[in-house]
Chain length 429, copies 2
């Protein structure tokens, strides 16, 4: 078998066989297939697509290119959730404790944020001492004792995906439904939970800009999961505005604590829906009992206590959860006022995500977790001239001034409201 023939087949819009895809990933892993061959095949795939059989074969082979987590020592069903990434998307810190507090075990591996999105791994660093790098044994132990654990992905987790993703990122083949689906699902299959719920975002602040793209991706991923023997569903959620009011690690942690304390908002709505899917697919609840149980565990304070337990089990300092006054505050806060009267017609969420990333100094290596943007408006909020619409939380006045115009430009005030769709557009099972 020659990789040349595989490239030629895909260039000519033909489907690759299971054996050919196996040969490809084996060659990528051994280094026998060179980067210039891989990038050509990835481009041919990105343009000419893959059918579901090919996409499943690729995902499974990538999943098996490294370690697979073994949950034999965990009693009961293990569940997992994944978001395709958005702005102020803090559902993990809400969903994991709620589900765990209801007796369903959650094994979550989170990465750092990509591009304009924040990652759960970054946010957990707000809890001083939190150890993201547990061994598999410690991970399993935490799941058994506390009911949930959130760690980063191990180094040898779908390593084929790391190689392919790096090349795609250098050669413009990131945008490809089968390659995105295989990248996400290979890691989910390696994470090896038996229930997987996917939160697939679409809109300004998501990688998928349209509902149609997001829907195709969601259907592809659900099908891959099913073929791999998992119970899996996906919810399609609107990301045309940030999900929460804060963008930045501490602001988002605070949002999560608020929802776990009973606050009702978009972040709560999406988080609860994800919980419901996980609980129902786990077999422990039906839809009706799940909804009630979710509200009860919040009202009783059990969900928030579970978050504290999870943090402590990882060696993290959890006192900021109970005592909000201990939460570190930004050194400099700059308010942004509306320059005119009207409605918030557009929120450039991706831009706000990039600005928040810049404020945190993430690219410079030293992260200021207090930095970020706090929004006081949502899409279609009516504002008067001079109303405070946002606050920039920064390490210095200079940092805040540097991005002030960008934040103002990202909140577009017009005379008319925007035609807004539903927050949760569909559930795909």
């Amino acid at each position: 078998m020659r990789v040349y023939d595989l490239i030629l087949k895909k260039k000519n819009k033909k489907a690759l066989t299971t054996e050919e895809i196996g040969f490809f990933i084996d060659g990528v892993m051994s280094g026998k297939i060179k980067n210039y061959e891989t990038s050509a095949l990835l481009m041919a795939i990105a343009i000419n697509d893959m059918n579901i059989e090919e996409t499943f074969d690729l995902t499974l082979k990538m999943a098996h290119s490294g370690d697979i987590v073994n949950f034999d020592k965990v009693s009961g069903t293990v569940v997992d959730k994944h978001s395709t990434g958005g702005v102020s998307d803090t559902t993990t810190l809400i969903v994991v404790p709620i589900v765990a507090s209801l007796g369903v075990k959650v094994a979550k591996m989170s990465g750092g944020g990509l591009g304009f999105t924040g990652g759960t791994a970054d946010k957990l660093q707000v809890f001083k001492g939190y150890d993201l790098n547990l061994t598999e044994e410690q991970f399993i132990n935490n799941i058994n004792t506390v009911g949930a654990s959130i760690i980063t992905q191990t180094k040898n987790f779908a390593p084929a995906d790391k190689i392919l993703y790096e090349l795609r990122n250098l050669t413009a083949s990131v945008e490809s439904i089968p390659l995105i689906a295989a990248s996400i699902m290979s890691k989910k299959l390696a994470s090896n939970a038996s229930v997987i719920v996917l939160d697939v975002k679409f809109g300004e602040g998501a990688f998928m800009k349209t509902l149609a793209q997001a829907s195709t991706l969601a259907k592809t991923m659900v099908e891959i999961g099913k073929r791999a023997g998992k119970k899996v569903s996906a919810i399609l959620t609107d990301m045309n505005e940030p999900l929460g009011s804060g963008i930045g690690s501490i602001l988002e942690v605070r949002n999560a604590i608020n929802v776990l304390s009973g606050k009702k908002n978009n972040l709560a709505t999406v988080s609860k829906r994800l919980c419901e899917e996980l609980l129902v697919l786990s077999g422990a609840f039906d839809s009706k009992t799940a909804k009630k149980a979710i509200n009860d565990t919040i009202t009783s304070g059990n969900a928030l206590i579970k978050l504290q337990e999870i943090i402590r089990a990882h060696g993290g300092d959890d006192q900021i959860i109970a005592r909000a006054e201990l939460m570190p505050k930004a050194k400099f806060i700059k308010p942004i006022y509306s320059a005119k009267e009207g409605f918030v017609n557009q929120i450039k969420s991706e831009e706000l995500g990039y600005v928040a990333g810049q404020l945190s100094g993430k690219k410079m290596g030293k992260i200021d977790h207090t930095a970020g943007i706090k929004l006081f408006v949502k899409l279609n909020t009516k504002v008067k001239k001079g109303d405070k619409i946002a606050e920039i939380n920064a390490s210095s006045e200079k940092d805040a001034e540097n991005v002030a115009a960008r934040v103002e430009d990202a909140l577009v005030i017009k005379n008319n409201k925007k035609n807004k769709g539903k927050l949760i557009q569909a559930i795909i099972r």
Copy 2:
């Protein structure tokens, strides 16, 4: 400018600007653009195509990536011809002396054969001592004194094309009209003759399998040449059977000498048509006077004498031209007989090209110029069982036996004739 954005544009079916194409080729030449980036862009081009502006920009930039021949010291128009490659395609050795014998200067740079096609550079080695590697000064001098010179391409001749072609050949992006056109025409523009006539082959024994593909390629190349200020035309010729009766260096040299001695056959027809185009585009003849002049220079023996002069001017031994008995003969000749009665319905020309290449031992480094295949039939020839249809010329009996079945299989005898098209299908100007 980043190559990433160029790849993304082409992935999304957008056209690249002149500046972007310049940036790409500069980066390929300097090494700043890596092979994995180049192969991804080439694949995107191969799938999503290029418009004529992009193709022209690419060709011109590739042409200027290395040396450009300077004909200032040649008086009068300099002409050049190019064949896209076929089986028993020996027109160069006929066209160059005919045109030169009529006072029009020919500057020809030939490569070795690609794949199943024989190259003029290989055939010239039949004339012992022939020096293909003249300096530019010697090349110009030969053109001025003899009227023509045939050399190989210098090392620094459209070097960008060499890099791109090598990568395309490794990553399955060879088949692409704009990339093929740019590859051929960049070298023609670097060769820098002011008249260029292209022989674009289609059919079983050509790279372009269909007339439609060949026609698109021909139109693209003619347009590129015109935009570069050249006088250029293309003829579309049928390559569903080998152009001459012999396949292999010495057999093809013999075919050329026969045509220059007055023999009329398909090889003569195509060669004369190419001569006519060159003579008319050079401005020295009109169509009617060109036809007569071509026949006259053959009849008078001047064309054959000119071939001898060209060979001698390159230090080659030309005595085999006048004395056919000195032509080296193959060590072993194996005749192939028809197994049944019928018509030659198909000649698998590409296969015969590969078999002839194998017989010559070209891949092993040591070439036997006497090796090859001689055909005694053409398409639609009526044969009886036991008629000699071919002869295998080989270095040994073993070599001949090894390929006998393949040669027999390549000459398909059926009860019916094949519906055969015209030898020259169109002229594109």
